[in-house]
Symmetry: C2
Subunit: 402 residues, 2 copies
């Protein structure tokens, strides 16, 4: 039949996807599975009733903002609000420094489109956020891994010649690691010395459980100019502060970069939903995000502690890890050098628990010693049961590897 | 100062943008300008009160659908509704054939990512939608123009070897031309004979003012399979049927293509706003789109007629055009072979009217004889005044060219 004609091949990068993704897709079908793999927030933290009211008012009081095509850059009122919210002593931000994006994810896609030529070089904190690797895959980048925590790390050598550097200083996905103040200063200095753009991806910047937030690299790079002109491209999102379903994020950068991102956004989705932007603005303006934050922090702190206590009970001797001081994840590295965590994932699924293996956070897929465990989605009892299942799965996987 | 360090160059494709875009950006600042350049709908057609109620109920009754990360492919209820809405005798669509996109624009971006390798060949109806050209620019495609209306056009020769063919059969943007039934059959047959994917971009498919809608190429390519497996990739949008501010579109295609588009969407914006998807579903389900359509058609028919009457009064002898039987645009070609419509745009702005010159719809920017005029945004008086200004601007531009 006509339908059997050979069609043109799909774009080459599609053939390079990790089969772990397929494994995840099938995991959704396993009954009783405890999912500690994703990076999902706890739905009970969302103020649905307030948001329902805001949504109705957004449409009825601002039909122009909510129902029309909006400006490519985002609604001016929301850009102004973000500029004011992130300004600080020495850091003066204006509307020209802000682009509203369709979730934080779109900012990563747009950054790939404007800062990266085909095959270009990215200096990336390693291991790196899977979503960023996905976003840039169609442009076939080359990666130079940055291990900020290692003795002798040289930020200038790391950044030199890269089209941009990519970091998640607050509770990195996947490792949960907090980049210290001195390292932040050094990265900013290296960006200024080498001229390389420094992407500061900050979805977890409000999720500090144990101490006061460190200054952003965006803030550290402020020179008191009337409009920020520095090397940092800062990315934020509403997904962790309020709710992910609005798909609202923002990029803050020098106007030159914002203009280029706008050109790329025009050919990506034209503009972000005006309804969602208006709700985001009104929620910030009403103090809704500040109102819910203490509950979010208390809940996630409790769950982090529950996970780490269960790990101390059941995974000691099997894994090494550090207790993260914020974010959504614990990163654990297997003591058994023969344990392949891609294999462990399949064993874990057979035992009714899902975690994320380290291979997906490595552009070359070679790191197979570690796992990422999420603690925000499940209550303490489920976290404990998940860890018990993971311990059994680890012993089974090690026994097979031996 | 440190900020004067040379930064890495931005990606190369950004240097290739047309300066007409800059001209448009500055046009917004001209007081009293009559904007006949864009493709904007009339805001009074939007049922704001109904949509306000739907928005509030969407959040309060379906917080999971609206506030959480949704499935990459879109909400199952909306995918099912779209599948049912576009199924026809011989064309059986299921959820597996449908991807929800962030506006119709995102579908074009995703198609570039999955069907086009760097520098790949696109067979495109010519002149072509500017937004599609923008979406694909980062991948540096090669274009083979298709002039479907020309004597001797050979669809098989046109499609052979292309990674995909791009068409807007219903009231093409920019020409307003309707592709006839026989040409639709031939394009589908050529797609089946050559194996090339056939993209049917259909934002104006509901905007028929003078006759009954022709069958979609998607429908013509149905073979009665239980799940559509044919060569057409059909793109639809809520922007013209309801309102653009929700940024809801859909792609309908063989499951193999949908799966690839989903992979690309994961790295583009993760998922489309659940709130906007839920509102789109509920608006379709409540018959809201059908309820407002008669008013929209009556309003736009009147405006098309007003524009064409004013053109007959003031532009005869200066331009040739055909009265479109639907859509949002009239395409007019200058009789003066010396008239450059990029120059005419600047003269038009000086006379207080804005139209779109043909160069932006040509991947190589060479077509400078025609203009696109929108008739949906302005009332008849403004349309007539805009045409009077355009006539004066044309005479002025021709005088300068002579």
């Amino acid at each position: 039949m006509a339908h059997s004609v050979q069609r043109p091949k799909l774009a080459r990068w599609l053939a390079e996807t990790n089969d772990v993704t397929q494994t995840f897709l099938s995991a959704g079908l396993i009954p009783g599975l405890i999912n500690m793999a994703g990076g999902l927030p706890e739905p009970t933290t969302w103020p649905a009733s307030d948001l329902s009211t805001l949504a109705a008012k957004a449409v009825s009081e601002h039909p122009g903002d909510t129902l029309a095509y909006g400006p490519l850059e985002g609604l001016p009122i929301l850009r102004d609000l973000i500029a004011a919210r992130f300004s600080a002593p020495g850091l003066s931000l204006t509307r020209e420094n802000v682009l509203i994006t369709t979730g934080g994810m779109q900012a990563l896609d747009l950054i790939g489109k404007v800062l990266l030529d085909q095959g270009g070089l990215i200096a990336a904190q390693s291991p790196a956020y899977l979503g960023a690797l996905d976003a840039w895959k169609p442009r076939h980048p080359t990666y130079r891994p940055m291990y900020l925590e290692r003795e002798g790390f040289d930020p200038v050598a790391a950044l030199r010649g890269a089209q941009f550097a990519y970091t998640v200083p607050n509770f990195s996905n996947p490792t949960g690691r907090l980049v210290g103040l001195e390292d932040r200063h050094q990265l900013v200095a290296a960006a200024e010395a080498t001229g390389t753009w420094l992407v500061e991806d900050d979805p977890y910047g409000t999720l500090y459980y144990d101490g006061a937030p460190l200054p952003r690299m965006l803030t550290l790079s402020g020179k008191g100019d009337s409009t920020y002109e520095g090397p940092v491209v800062y990315l934020g999102t509403l997904s962790k502060e309020l709710a992910p379903g609005f798909r609202i994020g923002w990029a803050i950068a020098a106007p030159e970069v914002i203009r280029a991102l706008v050109t790329a956004k025009q050919g990506s989705d034209m503009c972000t939903s005006g309804l969602c932007q208006r709700i985001a603005h009104d929620a910030f303006a009403a103090g809704l995000t500040e109102r819910i934050l203490p509950n979010v922090l208390a809940l996630y702190r409790l769950r982090r502690d529950a996970l780490c206590a269960a790990m101390a009970d059941h995974l000691h001797g099997l894994f090494d890890w550090e207790v993260p001081s914020g974010g959504m994840f614990v990163w654990a590295t297997a003591r058994d050098p023969e344990l392949n965590t891609d294999v462990l994932l399949r064993e874990a699924l057979a035992h009714g628990v899902c975690i994320t293996p380290s291979s997906v956070f490595d552009p070359e897929g070679r790191n197979r010693r570690s796992i990422r465990i999420n603690f925000t989605l499940n209550d303490p009892d489920k976290l404990a049961e998940g860890v018990r299942r993971l311990a059994k799965a680890t012993l089974a996987a090690s026994a097979k590897a031996a």
